[in-house]
Symmetry: C3
Subunit: 140 residues, 3 copies
């Protein structure tokens, strides 16, 4: 495991905006506040979602759109730099009215409501292409 000790920066409590994209508003907030490195977690509900599933053999992402409302049972992620831009990496577990679930890497989702805790770090986390996984990971 590669790791880095980080100094804690600011902490934020957020209320996600209804009708806006879940990840895009995290990235807009990060840009507005100059948050270059952070972890976050939260909960809420979305009106739809597109998840990305990564095929570990093919090393390709496949989009899987779900055009239905969900609770966000959990959203776990972080903010760092990818290709010079702020990038919010988030995984979610979503649930339907009968409690059944879908989960994975979140691309887009129209927010119904959401509550987030963001822990900033006084650090720079920059993603680089990793040849083993073909993912963009942090060299720590």
């Amino acid at each position: 495991m590669d790791y880095r000790q980080v100094e804690g920066g600011r902490e934020f409590v957020a209320r996600m905006s209804h009708g806006e994209d879940w990840r895009a508003q995290i990235e807009a907030f990060a840009a507005e506040q100059g948050v270059d490195a952070a972890f976050f977690y939260g909960l809420g509900a979305v009106q739809d979602a597109e998840l990305y599933f990564y095929d570990q053999d093919e090393q390709e992402y496949y989009p899987e759109p779900f055009d239905e409302p969900f609770e966000v049972a959990s959203c776990v992620g972080n903010v760092s730099i990818l290709d010079g831009e702020l990038f919010a990496h988030a995984h979610v577990t979503l649930s339907r009215e009968d409690g059944s679930t879908v989960a994975g890497h979140l691309n887009t989702a129209t927010t119904f409501a959401g509550e987030l805790y963001v822990r900033e770090f006084d650090a720079t986390l920059e993603r680089e292409h990793d040849p083993v996984t073909d993912l963009d990971l942090w060299p720590l």
Copy 2:
């Protein structure tokens, strides 16, 4: 996204009490310690659970009781003020012995065991009725 920078307060590690309601004991702890605003996450197991599913069109909560034991794969939530009372808002992902899951907004659950990390904020978070979603949300 509406957000507020918060000052971190106390941090707590908790062991949930066997046989007691999951959310009620978080609220009792918050009252005992004067924790008005916090985020928490944790894991554990419950003997049963009642989830609430929110119908985004009808804007109504529907209870869905599950009379079976579950692992708590994740519990994500926060403490704030609702109608003048401390309110623990929690979403959970629950799993059965075969690994199958149900997830959503937790109302009640009889704790089997549980471990929680609570991050208090030196802030006041008070929920108000939001006409767009018909939910009680924070004006940040």
Copy 3:
């Protein structure tokens, strides 16, 4: 609910090592850095997984192996002392390419990729056998 106020210690951001066991590398990191007490959460992907399901009536763990790749939609856990050794207790929600999920107590999993936030506490958390649940829990 039993609880203890803890003083926050160091914070770490980690990139999990490809091909290594998920929990074992958390324990190796904790040993290397002298992290005796911590909570963590994160996300990632694994190449396989063995979950443990606890039968609350029989009070026995049953292993459930899954020989397939998963996204780690969430990983929530902590580090404490069990039988004099550092022990990483982790629950995960895992998802397949179609978004379907399995979740529970993680025993082993071969890491594909993973990102973790670790919050250390200046405290000692030591597990002891609990006769009611037959689990090893913290006396707080």
